[in-house]
């Protein structure tokens, strides 16, 4: 698959890190913190302990001033580290969006100074066009934006949007005045008034989405936040009630000291899910960043999230599953016709046919039957081009022979008109070819059928493996094609797709998506044409091709700048990665609490009940070093996990139960064990640096 290489800024790029540090200090503003309830609790705790430190300085401290200061400082660091993660994700996103804006290739547009053919124009980028600008489009030019014809008449190739290859006439006034961006003028000229603002808004939108202030929380983020808030409330309850419990215990034990507010705040901050709470915004933004990295611009975070859930993937056959055009693979002469004669005639008829199909016939004739290419002028022949009316092309030779090739129906009626017949024997051949996914092309000389050329869709290399991967992810692939069901079934089978929608029209596509959705499935699709717009609007994840029409881009919720339809697979992976990162870090965060209890509870109560020292299974040096180690670990783990939150937990296409088992082992079991080691290590360092005072 094609990948546009863009310099992905490294994690330590100073142009991102330095502003991120400044930004993370600015984000200490409580108005920013209140948006993230978990971190707001830390913020309040930091303020409280800072106050306690000031009180201790004045000589009324509940604990040694140095200890309170150390706790307070590390609590502030906890917030700053979380802010830093968010700023890093924002910075990277903005940098990527910026480089995208620069790198983006544009359709040039001839902007007219006034509404008159022949007046001066300036060539500008289509993205700079605004509504009501006037542009000139001449033969061979692409229409830069959706618009309305003000002057002129021209034939326009709208096949990119409609699929209909015959050119259409566009002229000012009446119902043929609307033109669509991305279509091409084949003859003459048009003066067009632009009717919509350009797709650049996608980029603006994108940048807005990675900026904290304007960022909207996605549904899953909200649901997760609720869970985190509940954990926070539970631990708030636990720590708040611990003060009365401690007072009571000191009363009955007759000795020891009531737990200090500093220790309670430290315990609270260690217990509440600060790791995931602090990294949650960064994870969401990083998901958008990864989308940009693959050259996809999402217009909502919701769409990125939904991508992870997709059950059904609708893919257009042409250009996605198969190479855009068909190729001749076999010549089948009718019985009684010599193969040489047949191939010779077919080659003659195709010499001036510049379509890919025509070229492939000439190539096959040379490769398989050794018939060399000739120049049509040399043999005194006249080329008859394909028209939408005749549905066939061919040559009229000087000796009176008229060779025609085209769709079986068209050739059938052509020979019948000339008094010929369509041989019965060919009918079964035609059917066999159709069934195998090929397209039969009939060839006739005057009123006599010579034979059939078998054209075949060529399935893209490696596509089958990609669909197998999707199947392992639990995603059903459905091919959309205008072909008849027989052909569709054959290509679907060859490319390894699960299902197909044959003879698709905009209505059937829309109906199909709705049916899937009624069944509870989430549908993703790609599209580029205006006729895809209703289906794109209906689909849950809709990736519009950048080469597509404005209508398609507006109906979709993502735009693929590479216009690569298989990009959906990447999009799904990024969506899943985003969710997995959230889930894994939540598990990790909660699992961490086990060890923190074993650090803090004995430290806090060993004065009251010396036997509780038995719970100090890590053998931390002193109660103060134990509490400090837990707080420091809690802050440092945020920094340590920033790369993971920015790059995401890797996703592999394996069965759900295996994925769960692996992630549970790493982040659940690992989350229980890792902090034991981490806290012990920090405690040893604190002792080594003689930063702890002995005893409580």
């Amino acid at each position: 698959m094609k990948k546009i290489s863009r310099t992905t800024s490294s994690l330590f790029d100073p142009s991102i890190v330095v502003p991120a540090i400044i930004e993370s200090l600015k984000k200490l503003d409580p108005r920013h913190q209140i948006r993230n309830p978990v971190m707001f609790v830390v913020w309040v705790g930091s303020l409280l302990t800072t106050g306690l430190y000031v009180q201790a300085l004045c000589g009324h401290g509940e604990a040694p001033a140095g200890f309170i200061l150390a706790v307070a400082l590390w609590l502030w660091f906890t917030i700053i580290f979380a802010n830093f993660a968010e700023s890093m994700a924002e910075g990277r996103g903005k940098a990527q969006a910026e480089s995208l804006r620069k790198a983006r290739k544009d359709t040039p547009a001839k902007k007219l100074s006034n509404l008159k053919y022949g007046s001066d124009y300036t060539t500008v980028s289509a993205t700079t066009l605004r509504k009501d600008d006037i542009v000139l489009v001449e033969r061979g030019d692409f229409i830069p934006m959706d618009g309305e014809v003000m002057e002129g008449v021209a034939s326009v190739d709208e096949s990119a949007i409609t699929g209909e290859s015959a050119p259409v006439i566009r002229e000012s006034g009446g119902d043929r005045c609307a033109v669509t961006g991305g279509t091409r003028v084949l003859s003459d000229w048009l003066i067009v008034r632009i009717t919509s603002n350009p797709g650049e808004t996608f980029l603006d939108h994108m940048i807005a989405m990675v900026e904290g202030a304007k960022r909207q929380k996605t549904p899953n983020e909200i649901a997760l936040s609720i869970l985190l808030i509940v954990f926070t409330i539970i631990f708030l309850l636990v720590t708040v009630t611990l003060l009365p419990f401690s007072i009571f215990s000191v009363g009955v034990a007759g000795h020891g000291q009531v737990i200090t507010v500093t220790v309670l705040v430290a315990l609270l901050v260690c217990l509440i899910p600060t790791t995931i709470g602090g990294l949650l915004p960064a994870i969401g933004i990083a998901g958008m960043d990864r989308m940009i990295q693959t050259n996809v611009i999402a217009t909502s975070g919701r769409a990125v999230e939904a991508a992870g859930d997709v059950d059904v993937l609708l893919l257009d056959k042409t250009g996605t599953i198969t190479l855009g055009n068909r190729q001749a693979v076999e010549f089948i002469p009718v019985s009684g016709i010599n193969m040489e004669t047949f191939v010779d005639a077919v080659q003659l008829a195709s010499l001036s046919d510049e379509t890919p199909e025509g070229r492939s016939i000439v190539v096959l004739a040379k490769a398989k039957h050794g018939i060399r290419e000739r120049h049509i002028q040399d043999i005194n022949a006249k080329f008859i081009p394909f028209t939408a009316q005749t549905k066939m092309s061919g040559v009229d030779l000087g000796d009176g022979r008229q060779i025609r090739k085209g769709a079986v129906d068209a050739i059938d009626s052509y020979v019948r008109k000339l008094g010929g017949i369509f041989p019965e024997s060919l009918k079964s051949i035609v059917e066999t070819i159709s069934k195998s996914g090929g397209t039969p092309l009939a060839v006739a000389e005057n009123n006599r059928i010579l034979g059939i050329v078998q054209l075949k869709d060529i399935v893209k290399g490696g596509i089958k493996e990609r669909f197998a991967e999707l199947r392992r992810m639990g995603i059903k692939t459905v091919m959309i094609t205008g072909d008849n069901p027989l052909t569709a079934a054959a290509i679907a089978a060859e490319s390894g797709m699960d299902d197909f929608l044959a003879q698709a029209t905009p209505e059937t596509k829309l109906k199909f998506i709705r049916e899937m959705q009624t069944g509870g499935r989430l549908v993703a699709m790609t599209g580029d044409g205006t006729n895809d717009a209703p289906a794109l609007a209906q689909a849950d994840v809709a990736v519009a091709m950048n080469t597509g029409t404005q209508a398609a881009k507006e109906a979709g919720n993502m735009v693929d700048l590479d216009s690569n339809p298989t990009k959906l697979i990447e999009v799904v992976k990024i969506g899943k990665q985003l969710l997995i990162t959230r889930g894994s870090l939540t598990t990790f965060s909660i699992a961490n609490d086990v060890s923190k209890y074993f650090a803090i509870i004995p430290a806090a109560f060993v004065g009251t009940y010396p036997v509780l020292g038995a719970l100090n299974i890590m053998h931390l040096a002193t109660p103060q070093s134990a509490i400090l180690s837990a707080v420091i670990f809690n802050a440092l783990i945020i920094i340590a996990l920033i790369p993971l939150s920015l790059f995401g937990v890797p996703y592999r296409a394996v069965a759900a139960s295996r994925l769960l088992r692996d992630n549970l082992l790493i982040y659940g079991v690992g989350g229980i064990i890792a902090p034991f080691a981490g806290i012990k290590l920090i405690d040893m360092i604190l002792v080594g640096l003689k930063l702890t005072s002995g005893g409580s």
Binding site: L227, D311, N663
Partner: protein, 611 residues
Amino acid sequence: MSHNDFIQMGIYLVVLLLAVKPLGIYMAYVYEGKPAGLNIWLSGLERWIYRICGVKPEKGMTWKEYAIALLVFNILGILMVYAIQRLQAFLPLNPMAMAAVSPDSSFNTAVSFATNTNWQGYSGESTTSYLTQMLALAKQNFSSAATGMAVLAALIRGFIQKQMNTIGNFWVDLVRTVLYILLPLSIIFALILVSQGVPQTFSPSAKATLVQATKDSNGKPMTEQDIALGPVASQIAIKQLGTNGGGYYNANSAHPYENSTPLSNFLEMIAILLIPAALCYTFGVMVRDRRQGWALLAAMLVIFIPCLWASITIEQKGNPLFDKLGVDQRATAYQPGGNMEGKEARFGVVSSAIWSVATTSASNGSVNSMHDSYMPLGGLIPMWLIQLGEVIFGGVGSGLYGMIAFVIVAVFVAGLMIGRTPEYLGKKIEAFEMKMASLMALIPHIFVLIPTAIAVLTVAGKAGISNPGPHGFSEILYGFSSAGNNNGSAFAGLNANTVFYNTALGVSMFFARYWLMIPALAIAGSLSAKKIVPTTQGTLPTHTPLFVFFLAMVILIVGALAFFPALALGPMVEHLILRSFDFTQDQTLSIVECVRLHSGLTLSEVEGLMI
């Protein structure tokens, strides 16, 4: 654990599990309205009840209508129980001429029996008339159990139904539960209990002449003893089956008239978990995937069996201080061994330990031994099982809907870990469900921790403590854990029949019950309106051992994290003190004094133990 212990535990589990499938299927058919014998034969009666009450059985209710009907029914129940207790002196069936119950005790009991908690601040045989026992208390045993099961039925419908805004009809669920499930089982069970010698009579107390005359507390000579009787069997049957636990007598199932023989003891233990366990299977049948029901049952057993094992082991091992004194506590052919304080000699260590674990994992709360007298860790297990939120079996209906709230939390995290927005049984779990499930996990914690904190700070709260030291803290914590999770059992050392405890515990019970039911119904309503997402390879399987294990871990970790500090200051400290106690260092004190100081027992209790 000895072979004998294993055999007793094994038989208990096997008999329980054998009953799960048949009863589970039967209950599913009752809720689905499918023919299941009784509901055909008694359908005329069912229709007659609806006609008399003006209920339109075919009319579905939205979750809000369902919740309102439920609350109205339950609040009327509370008022009725309150009124009967206050007025019992003027009402019939009062052969012992019991006076009106005090207002705070009446309030506590009324809430207690409506919320399926059945905390008993009063002493049944010396407080309540036969009418109060039958019409107020036994009746509430049925209606509180049926309310819990109705909520569960509605929640299950939420999973089955597609894009509907109703969740069934509360009155229909209520009537069917009572008529086809609770009444028939209770009648059969009551008859079995009567066969074992449990009284069922309207006669007044019997009088027995004492073999040896004694003196009462005022020093007057006594020659006769009152033996309290009454309609006992009928109440014990539903008390066990409906996870109520409110005994007829103060001593609850330790009293020989509530629990007369080893067989009655075994059957009562089975009855505690029978319906909660079978409802898991009902769930599986109703959601058309029986593996899901087995998975929930398995998650419960993953926690239940180790607790059972630990409790038996700890209690059988006895008091470490006795070991140091050279007292033989082993189970031998001549003695049961272990910690027998507060246990009935008729039942012994194992049957008592099994009962204590079963009654606290289910929100039953009946006791056949005094949990207060268990070893510190032996007492920690029942307390912690309650604190887990009464979801390991739990109350009838309420245990499973509480469990489903945990499943929603577990599925949410696990779902994220496989890269999908979470779903359970094809229903997407979104912000609303998370909000409600989180409330269900949070509310019990609020009504355990905050009242405990208030109690340990106030004079009124501390007045109830009979044992000083950390054990006194354990008693208060146990009391509020029990009320805040609707269990109803107690560390009996706490004197809770005071205005403070009657009121505080009553309020805890009330909110812990209905503030859980309403979110459960809200989830039912929200799920019912959703589509069902088809299962694919990418769907999180929720019936695998991995998920069962994960679910159990979520329950354990949430429970452990919320109560670790409190438990550390109560039973854990008790245990550590007991373990680390060194006689040699305290030579100046008498052994009795040492034990008293460190165990928190009273002097007479210690002396009793020493003999």
